[in-house]
């Protein structure tokens, strides 16, 4: 057999020229973006948009493809727990503070500064430079939320390409990553833009109550239905059907994952831009306790808030008491938690902080997954060597190994079915499967201890 010859010099783990070029080009794009954001004179005109877009897309893709394609296909999380950006070093803190600061400014202050100048017909430069794209899609000028959506989508797409390269040995990851990229690009970006262009109501097909709580708020529903727009009924019906029919049905058949790691934009960003931070999720039992308290409290909060708003709207029973409740929810949960903390804290607490501790949609899906679903992660007999890769890389902070090493199938409410535990396992122990509901969480392999004896052991 003729063997291919390979150099015996191993690849240099440091950045090579191509990676450096990629990073530099990306840097130019980001600098232009910041200049526009801070209203610098030079950053106006459409050349800025195209240069910025080119810099971010070409630089980002060059860097990430080079980084992953220079290694053979497989799991190579080299240095991830030591790198300053991904291991909460100085770089991680810096990144966390920048993103959090950016989000805070953008969510709470940017809009206002735009408004105060609105009298003079002033529009922030950042929106101006996005006009070409906005005109193309929506036939109108950009506003700050269009800019936000566009940036979010670009992040998911570029980092999605990175994820495709990183996990190219795993077909599950390839199909899933394509799905989240498609859902963000098509459903969360193109569809709403087209609807606007056609003078139809605002429509985000991949978000519904309780995550998109506004979808069931009486004022929104009323404006929607009385708008006279031809697709208003469809948009309303879609929301209702997704919440009441599709959610339980799909979760029964496939588990929570159909939404959280195939469709949702928050999950989409976490599994693309956030992928390098997944190991930062806290695996302790204490964190699990906090998670359960928080996520179900927020679910109760959103239910009570929705009910109060409706009572006020229909019967005026509460004398407007629902207004402050709704405001608090919108500020604390809708903006601060899901936006600012949810993304800003990626480099500090991992990529799924919002999904794990906050999202009411995840709470509902999780309950269905736990009590009535065909989904589980099967453990392969007694093959586990307790290495800990699965637990380390579980973005939801599930101690997967605890189950795997005692041969127990995993049926946790919080599992979003990202499949990374199965991908990183060096011994082929874990598989995400849909099967008969009766036999979930059974012990597929037993040493000697009976299930009863196992229960005596405290986690």
């Amino acid at each position: 057999m003729l063997r291919e010859s390979h150099s015996i010099v191993p690849p240099d783990p440091k950045l090579d020229t191509i990676q450096r070029i990629g990073l530099s080009v990306l840097g130019i794009g980001l600098v232009l973006f910041l200049l526009a954001l801070f209203e610098q004179e030079i950053a106006t005109g459409s050349w800025v948009f195209y240069t910025m877009l080119f810099g971010i897309v070409a630089g980002g893709i060059t860097y990430s493809l080079r980084t992953h394609l220079k290694r053979p296909p497989g799991i190579h999380n080299n240095n991830l727990v030591k790198n300053t950006f991904t291991a909460v070093g100085a770089g991680g803190w810096l990144l966390g503070i920048i993103i959090t600061g950016f989000y805070t400014a953008y969510y709470f202050f940017y809009q206002e500064s735009a408004l105060t100048k609105a009298g003079t017909e002033y529009r922030p430069s950042i929106t101006q430079i996005f006009d070409p794209l906005s005109q193309l899609l929506r036939n109108s000028n950009a506003d700050i939320w269009f800019v936000y959506g566009a940036c979010y989508t670009i992040a998911v797409l570029i980092m999605g390409i990175k994820a495709l390269a990183k996990y190219r040995h795993s077909k599950y990851q390839i199909v899933r990553t394509c799905s989240i990229m498609f859902c963000q690009f098509g459903f969360a970006f193109i569809v709403p833009s087209i609807m606007e262009r056609l003078n139809q109501p605002y429509f985000l097909p991949n978000y519904f109550w309780p995550l998109e709580y506004k979808a069931l708020m009486p004022d929104k529903v009323e404006t929607l239905l009385s708008s006279g727009k031809s697709m208003a009924g469809f948009v309303f019906g879609w929301g209702i059907i997704m919440t009441l029919v599709a959610t339980p049905l799909l979760t029964y058949y496939f588990g929570k994952r159909w939404y959280c790691s195939w469709v949702c934009g928050c999950g989409g960003l976490a599994n693309t831009a956030g992928d390098s931070f997944r190991q930062l999720s806290n695996k302790s039992r204490t964190a699990w306790k906090i998670e359960r308290i928080m996520i179900y409290s927020i679910l109760i909060f959103v239910i009570i808030m929705t009910a109060m708003v409706w009572m006020d709207a229909w019967w005026g029973t509460l004398g407007g008491a629902s207004l402050p409740v709704r405001k608090v929810y919108g500020f604390l949960i809708g903006a601060t938690f899901s936006g600012v903390i949810g993304v800003g804290f990626y480099p500090l607490l991992g990529s799924r902080v919002w999904c794990r501790f906050g999202c009411p949609m995840a709470a509902v899906l999780g309950m269905i997954q736990k009590f009535k679903s065909r989904f589980r992660i099967t453990t392969n007999g007694a093959q586990c060597i307790s290495c800990g890769n699965c637990s380390t890389y579980c973005e939801m902070g599930i101690d997967v190994r605890w189950y795997a090493q005692r041969g127990q199938d995993i049926k946790r409410a919080s599992c979003v079915g990202c499949g990374i535990c199965s991908a990183v396992c060096p011994r082929g122990v874990l598989s995400l499967e849909n099967g008969p509901t009766e036999q979930r969480e059974e012990y597929t392999m037993d040493l000697l201890g009976s299930a009863k004896a196992r229960k005596l052991e405290k986690k």
Binding site: P10, R285, I385, P426, S431, P436, E457
Partner: protein, 453 residues
Amino acid sequence: MQPIIIIGNGIAGVTAAREVRKLDSQVPILIISGETDYHFSRTALMYIFMGHMKFKHTQPYEDHFWKENKLDLKRAWVEKIDHHSNSIILQGGEKLGYSHLILAVGSTPNKFGWPGQDLPGVQGLYSKQDLDELEKNAVGAKHAVIAGGGLIGIEMAEMLITRGIGVSFLVREKNFWGSVIPEEEAMMIEDHIHEHHVDLRMGDELDSIHAGDDGKVSHIVTKAGEKIECSIVGLTAGVRPNIDWIKEGSEVETDRGILVDNHFRTNLPNVWSIGDCAQLRTPPKGRRPIEAVWYVGKLQGAFVAANICGDPQDYNPGIWWNSAKFFDIEYQTYGTVMPDPQDGEKTFFWKAPDKHITIRINYRENDLAVTGVNVFGIRHRHQVWEKWLSDEAKITDVLSQLAGANFDPEFFNQYEDEIIAHWNHDNSEQVTKTVGKGLFSTLLTKINLFKAN
């Protein structure tokens, strides 16, 4: 009441402690180890070095686990066993009494008396301390030599390569891991090792190690007479039971390992031994007296616990299984597959063209009963193979239901059709596929995956 003392907080000792605790909620249990404060997964050492995990991540239980399950821990080295007074003596002289003593002291790397084997920069890879040493030796290193082509050797090569350190890998055998896997699989692994830029030298051995002016390793010379410059030498020519101190400091009967009966009793009363360091006087059929792998330590821990807690059980480990990963290629085996088929055995082998994917099923010539399987690059279900092997299923039936054993993630390419076609091409007894992949289909193989408890 004197505690049950377990020496060694590896997988064997810790499993024994946990299983005793499940059977007896009161008896005091003390686990002693000199290596680390808490149990960690030795198999994960490489991932710490490569920066996939921190040391903390390799500890399977949170620190509160031990207290809550009333398992006492002590960090100390044990030096002597005084069985007349049912006690052990620690380094520093402290004496502790036991009701039962379990020796689960693991292995230590083999050294074969190579000249220069104790120079700074020369090391094995077994303990946390070895890892710390490698971390030091790797600073500024350009090239390393690894001597011994087993599983730890290839892990060490992978570790060093990720730091950009070149590796010359000396493997005595003609084929890689040739004492365990057949030639076709070995060739594939060798190709893959080359793909990872390792200077693999098959059929060559370490002869001597030499120091430079600074007293540290500067180069080695191979049996073939070649000189290789290096600042690290990894000795990975297997492991042996870590029992030198037991030979000196006790009357426990030993051979290569600590001799035990099939209840894991040593020659001394209330003294037991399990895991890498134990040597069975009469191993179960088809098994070796010392099996230094993770799974065996875990099983033996469970058996010794039952035996100590008054539920005597003869050691019955069931079918042999094992798994490993060679750089990016996963490997699983169930049953026995020797490098060459045994008497009366035939072998069926298939390899995906241009891919690192193979399957080999060995079966008996007379009744076609399967005896073992090797899979590389495909994951297979443990329980399904356990059932097929213990039922002595015919290879033709196994092939027709093969997808039922497939444990790859969803959407992965499946090769059962090609595998069956390959069989049908070479054999007169034709096979058709009857079962698909997935949990629902697997249940069609009439295998009860789930043990009712």
